[in-house]
Symmetry: D2
C-alpha cells in the first residue's frame, strides 16, 4: 500500500457550481462569446481537470409536471457556460486538442428535461407548423439509462456530451459573426417569429468573474456574441457524437485558447429538433488538452474536427423514415435541394408513425429530439430534391414497433407535461 494515498488524487475541479442556484449568482460562468472574457482558470497541456456545469438555462426549468417554466424561460440568459479555461502555450493558429474524457450528471440531480418551446419564445423546428405551445418531458436517469414519466414506453442508454463547447473568438472573428448575423436579421426581418438570429444583447449578459474593469464588462455585454448557433470555433453545435471519449481538434483564435463548455446533454437525437430537444442536464465534464503548433494550417482547420468515442450505444436495428425537399405534410411546395426541408419531412413522417402507436404529436416530437435517432444526409444531388433519412432504434421501445400486416398496436401513453392552463 506504499504511496497509495499520495497516488490517489482525484482530478481538480476548476469550475464548481450548484445546479439548484441561479446561474448569474455563480462564479466561473458566462453566457456570451467575447475575446476579452478573461480565463477563469489556467491549465498546462496534459493535465486532467473537471468542470462543473449548470444546465443550459441555469436552473430555470423544474422537475415537475407542467411546462409553465418552459413557457416563461428567459432566453437572454442562455447558454450558461463554464470557463473559460486557458491552456498554457496556446497561440492563435494552433490547434487545441481536447479529450472529452467523461460527462456525468450530478449525483444529486439524476434527471434532465426536454422542452418544446413556445413559437414566440425560442421556437424549434416545427414551431410554426405546430404553432408550438410549451411542453416538456422530465427524464429520470438510472445509471446509463433514461426514461420519462411523460413519454412512457421507451428507455435508452445515454450518449452524454456537451451540446456546446468552443474556444474563444478573436475580436476579428467576433466582428465577422456579428456582422453576418445582423445582416441576416436585416435581410429577413427583425420581427421574425421565431427570430432568424440573435444579435448581441446586453440584457441578461453575464460574466461570473470579479475584477473585470467596468468598460471591459460593458463591452463584453454589448458586443458579445450570443451562444445559440455553432460557429467556426465550435460553440453550440449540438453534435451528439461529440461525446464522452471523443477527441476534438479546435482552432485557436486567442492566446490561451480559452475553452468554454456548457449545455450538457444526457442524450440527443440527430437534429435536436424541438430546439431544447436534447435531454438537458447539469453535470460534470472531464477534460485533458494538448496543443499542436500551427495546427490550423497543418489541418486546414476552418472549424473543429473530431474523432468520436469508441463507446456509443449500439441499437443495430432501426426503422428509417425518408424525407425529401417537398413540403409533403403541408402545401406540397417544391424546394430547391433543401436538406433542412428534407429533414423536416422525414421527421414529420416519423411523428405520424409514432402517433399510430399512441404517442401524441408532442410526445413524438420530444421523443425524436431526445432519443438516439440517427439522421443521415442521403443525397443532395438529385435535383430538385434533397433526401434525408431519420432512423429510430427499435430497441428503445418496450414493444415491437415494426410494421406488421395487422397494423400497429395503438396504446394509451397519456400526454407529456403541458402548460398549467392546458393549452397545447
Amino acid at each position: 500500500m506504499a504511496n497509495t494515498v499520495e497516488n490517489s488524487k482525484p482530478f481538480p475541479t476548476l469550475v464548481s457550481v450548484d445546479p439548484f442556484l441561479p446561474a448569474n449568482e455563480q462564479k466561473g460562468l458566462h453566457n456570451r462569446w467575447h475575446p476579452d472574457i478573461p480565463p477563469f482558470a489556467t491549465v498546462k497541456p496534459g493535465e486532467v481537470f473537471k468542470v462543473q456545469c449548470v444546465d443550459w438555462t441555469g436552473g430555470q426549468i423544474g422537475n415537475n409536471d407542467n411546462s409553465d417554466d418552459v413557457r416563461d424561460v428567459d432566453l437572454t440568459r442562455v447558454h450558461n457556460l463554464s470557463g473559460p479555461v486557458a491552456v498554457e502555450g496556446a497561440q492563435p493558429g494552433d490547434c487545441l486538442v481536447v479529450d472529452i474524457l467523461d460527462v456525468q450528471p450530478f449525483e444529486k440531480m439524476p434527471w434532465g428535461f426536454t422542452g418544446i418551446f413556445e413559437l414566440e419564445n425560442g421556437g424549434g423546428l416545427f414551431a410554426k407548423e405546430f404553432q408550438s405551445r410549451a411542453a416538456k418531458a422530465i427524464w429520470d436517469f438510472e445509471g446509463i439509462y433514461a426514461s420519462s414519466r411523460h413519454v412512457p414506453g421507451v428507455r435508452f442508454a445515454g450518449i452524454p456530451h456537451p451540446g456546446l463547447i468552443g474556444t474563444a473568438p478573436s475580436q476579428e472573428l467576433l466582428n465577422t459573426w456579428n456582422k453576418r448575423e445582423t445582416g441576416l436579421i436585416a435581410e429577413l426581418g427583425a420581427n421574425s417569429v421565431p427570430p432568424v438570429a440573435f444579435p448581441p444583447e446586453p440584457k441578461g449578459a453575464y460574466v461570473g468573474q470579479d475584477g473585470i474593469p467596468d468598460e471591459v464588462r460593458e463591452r463584453i455585454h454589448r458586443e458579445g456574441a450570443r451562444t445559440i448557433p455553432g460557429r467556426e470555433h465550435g460553440g453550440n453545435c449540438d453534435i451528439k457524437n461529440l461525446s464522452r471519449g471523443s477527441r476534438c481538434y479546435f482552432p485557436v483564435f486567442v492566446v490561451g485558447a480559452n475553452l468554454s463548455v456548457g449545455d450538457l446533454h444526457f442524450s440527443q437525437g440527430d437534429g435536436e429538433m424541438s430546439f431544447c430537444g436534447a435531454i438537458e442536464m447539469a453535470g460534470v465534464i472531464t477534460f485533458k488538452t494538448s496543443i499542436i503548433k500551427g495546427g490550423v494550417e497543418k489541418f486546414a482547420l476552418k472549424q473543429p474536427i473530431f474523432v468520436p468515442s469508441p463507446i456509443d450505444p449500439v441499437y443495430s436495428q432501426k426503422l428509417v423514415f425518408e424525407g425529401i425537399g417537398v413540403d409533403l405534410h403541408g402545401d406540397g411546395k417544391q424546394y430547391n435541394m433543401d436538406a433542412t426541408v428534407a429533414y423536416k419531412q422525414a421527421a414529420l413522417n416519423a411523428i405520424a408513425y409514432l402517433q399510430k402507436l399512441g404517442y401524441t404529436r408532442e410526445q413524438a416530437y420530444l421523443l425524436l429530439s431526445a432519443a438516439p435517432i440517427e439522421s443521415h444526409v442521403g443525397a443532395v444531388v438529385d435535383s430538385p430534391n434533397a433526401c434525408v433519412t431519420i432512423g429510430i432504434p427499435t430497441g428503445i421501445f418496450d414493444q415491437d414497433i415494426l410494421p406488421k400486416p395487422e397494423g400497429l398496436e395503438k396504446r394509451d401513453y397519456g400526454q407529456c407535461a403541458i402548460r398549467s392552463d392546458g393549452v397545447v
Copy 2:
C-alpha cells in the same frame, strides 16, 4: 441425394440485360415514370426473383483513363430502370414490402465508376464552386472490396444497393410532380446551370416493351416524370443504407404496384456529392415481395420507410468534419438554417484536409462521394446555423490519416481520370 436436383432451383431472372449493349436496344428497361408503362413481368407475393440492371447511364461510361465520355454523357437517356414488375394483388393504398435480398455486380464486369460531371451537363454539389469539368474514377471490384487506380491509397468494402427503386406513380401523383417541379423551374429560371429541375422530355425517353399502342407510348414520353429526384414513391433517393438485406415498405399507387429499379451502386457516401458520386455499376438484384393491405393508412406512409440490413461495413473509427450554414469557404455568406449549406461546408472542410494528404481536389471529391462516409444532421435548431457532420472512416486508408503533432504526410497520388484535352 433424393430430390436434390429438383430442389436446387435457381431463382428466375425476370429482366435480363447485357451491360455492354446500348440500353435503348434492350427489353425490360425504361427511363421515365408513368402509370401507363405496363408491367414487364408479374410475380406473386413471396416469390424470390432476380432483375438485371445496366448501369444508370446505360453503358455510356467506359473503363478507361479519360473522362471524355463523362463530359459527353446524354442525360436525357437516364436513368435506365429495369421493370416494372407487378405484384399480384397490390392495390392503391396498400404497402408493398420489398426485401432487397442481394445486389451483386456482373461477374463479367467487375468494375464501376464515379464521375464529376461538367457544370453544363449534370453538375453536382460543387459544380459552380469548382466550375466542374468532367473527371472520373474507375473502381475495380475484388470480391467485397473496391479500389481505384485513379484514387490510390484507399480500399473499402462496398455497401451494394439500388440508388433508385420505386413503385409507379398514379396519374394524379405524376401530375403533382410535374406541376410542382415545372413550377420551381418557372420560379428559379429555366436557364439555370446546372438546371434546378428536369421537366418531362420526350427526347431520349424509352420504354423497352413491344405492343404499347403508339398514343400511349407517346403520352409516356411526353408526360413521364424524369428519374433524377427521389419522390413520394421512393425513386432516386440514393440512400446507401437501402442495401442488400434491407426490408423496404413502399406506398402503392397503381394496381400491381409496378416496381422498377436501377442505378445500382457498389458503394456510396452519404450525400453522393459529385452527382454521379456513387460507384455506379451494372448488376443483379434479388427481390422478394409481400403486400400489407391498407398499409398506407396503417403506417401513415407518405413515403417509403425501411429497415436497414444487419450487414453493413463496420469501420468504427472516423474523422469527423463539421459544417455550418455559412459559406466559410467562399464569401462568408450567412444562410438561414440551411442544412444543405452546412453539408457543403463540412464537405469542403474534408476536401481541404484530404488535399493536405496529397489528394487533388477532384480525387478528394470523388473519394468522399464513393467511400462509405457518414453524414449526420447534427442540429437544425440553433438559429441561424444548421450543423451537419461528415465522418470519414480512417480504416479505408493505407496510412494513418489522423491529425499528428508533426502534421500530415503529403503523398503523391497523381490525378484521377480527366478529359483528353487536359482541362480540369
Copy 3:
C-alpha cells in the same frame, strides 16, 4: 466506352467443380494433407482468382426431408478440398498473406445443410449425451439470408467463410501430426465412439490429378493427414469470422505454399457444436495472395493469424447463457478448469431455453450450430471452474425470445429432418 471490353475481365477460375457430381470424379480436389500433392494451379502474388468447391462431403447429402444420407455418410472421403494452389516465390518460413475476397454459393444451388451425425458415425459435441441419431436441416438461401423449413421461426444473414483453409505441411510437420494424433488414439483407445482422432486412412483417399506417380499417390494415401482437425497450417479451424473480406496470414511449410480450401459455410455459430454444424454449402471463393519473406520469424507465426472482415452481421442484442466447468446437466461432475465442459454447459442451458420456446432438442442443437451465435471464453482462471458464454442474437427470431414475467410462448415448430425409420 474505349477499352471497356478489354478492361472487363472476369477473374480466372482455377478449380471448377460440379457440386452435383461425386467429388472423387472431379479434378482439382483432394481430401488428405500431404507435401507431395502437386499444385493443381499456380498464381503470381497479387493475382485475383476464384476456386470452386464442392460441399465438404462431396455431394453426399441431399436436399430432401429425411436424414438417411447423414446416417450413411462416408467420412473416409472428407473433406473434399480444392487445390492446392501454389504461389510463385513462396518459400518455407515465409508468411502467405491470403485475402478472402468473397465467398458465394453456386447460383444453381441456393441451399445448404446442417447435420447431427450418428454417435457411431461422426458424432458431435453431444453425441454421447444425446445418443445422437442422424438428423438434419436444409437451409434455403435467399440472397444474404438463410432460413429452413426444418427449423422454422428464424432467419439470419450469413457469414460466408471457408471452414477449412490451409497451406500444405512439410513432411516433418506431417510426421509430427501423425505421431501425436496416433499417440492420442493409443492413449485413449482406438475404439472410442466417436473416435478421439482420425489416423491416416488409405480408404477413400483421393487426389484429383493425373500424372502423379503411383508410389507417390500411394504414399499420399497412406501417410496423408486427415482433414478433420485444425492444425499449425490452419486447416479445419471452422472459425466463422475467417469470412469474406478477411485477411489471413499463413505460415509456409513447402515451396509454393500450396494453399487448399474447402468446407465452405454459409453461416456457423461459434463452436459449430453439432459437428456438421455450420450451414454446409458448395460454392465459389475468391482469393488474392501476397508473400512476406521470413514472415514466420517476423511475426512469431506458430499458427495462422488474421484480420476479420469489416463486414459482419450486426445483431446487437443477445441473450447470453453462462456455462461452467461442472456437468450441471448430467451427473454434476466437477472438472478442472475445463473450457470445453463450460462451453457444453452453456450450450445445454441454451438448448433447454429454446425448448421452452417450442423447439425440439434436435432443432435447438442445429439452430445453435448454424446461426451466428457468439461464444466467448469468459474466464479460465477461477479454479476450478472455467466460464464460457454463448450469446444468441435475439433479432434472428420472428418472435421476442427475451424472458418475460408471464414466461415464454411455446410454439409448435414441428421437427427437423430425421431418419426415414423415425428413430431420433
Copy 4:
C-alpha cells in the same frame, strides 16, 4: 422550479465502504458464500440503489511501482463482497432480474491494478509455464479510458463490470459445491501448486455484520464456500460483458435472493488470463431489481442468463490469433478436444507477437488480461483439436500493430512493476 428539490433525490447507498481501509473492519462486506449470512439491507422490487465495493483484495494492493504486495497477498481474505441485499418477495425458484445500471470507480481513487500472481500464491493461467513471480500494472483512469505507466503504448475505453455477482446458495446447493470441489481436490491432490480448488477455510473468513449468533458465524466460516469460482448462482464468473447497462436473470435459492457483489473491474479481456487479470478497482455499482415468479422453471434456469449492455467499446478492427488443443509452445502434447489448451495456445501466440513489438512477456500477459480482447470458441468438434481465437483490438495501440512486409517495429516499453528484489 416547483418540486425540483424534492424530485431530485440521489439514489440511496445501501453499503458504504472506504477503499483505503482494511475490508475486515468494515460493515456490509463478507467473503464467503453461505445461506445463513443475513441480509445487510433489504429493497423492494423496482427501487434503484447503490452499493459501494472495495477492490477484491480489500485494499491489499497499492498504487506504487513494485509488486511485493502482490507477492504477499492473503488470499484467504478474498473476495470482499458487498451485501447481501435481500429483495422483498423473492422465493426459491423465482428469477431475480437485476439491472446493472452503472459501475463507476471512486472519484477519489481513479486507478486500478492488474496482477500476475506468484506460482505458489494464486497462480494464473500460465503460472506453471512461466514459473510466475509477482508482477503488476497500475492503470490510471482518465474518464472512460485506462492507461498504464507499466504497460506503455496502449489506451483503451473501459467496460466497467462486476467480476463477481450472485445470489446466495441454499444449504443444499452449498453442500453440493463443497462436496464436488473437495472431491476434485481429493482426486487431483491437495498439494497442487497452484491449487486446483479452494475448500472452505475459516481463516480469513469475514462477515461484516453485528448480531450474528456465534454458532452461526462459526458455521458460516467453517462451511462457507470460497468465492474463487463461478457457480450455479453466478458468483465469480468474470464475464466482461456483464457490464454497466446489462440485465441479468439469476436463479433464487433462498428467501430474499440475497444478492452480493464485488470484484469490480474497470476492464477485462476475455479469459482474464493472469488470474488477477482484470483492471481491479474499488467503486460503486447501481442496481434495480425485479422478480419473475417461478422463473427457474419458466426459463430452465440452471445458471444466470443475461442481456449485455447496448454500450460496449467498439474497436472494429482486430488482429486475431488462433490456438488449438496442442501444446505448440511446449512439448507438443496432443490434447483431446480441450478448449482450455486451445485458449492458452492462442494466448501464447499473441504474447509472442506482442514481444516482437517490444513488450516483455509479463507486460504482454498483463495487457491481454486487462484490455478488451475478445476470445471466441471457434470450434469444439474437430477431433482431436478444439480451436479458440483471441482477437486484439488494434485501435488501442498508439502504433499500427498489423503485420507489415518489413516486419514489426520493436520499441522499448521498459517493464511492468516487479518485485523489489528484482526477481521476475
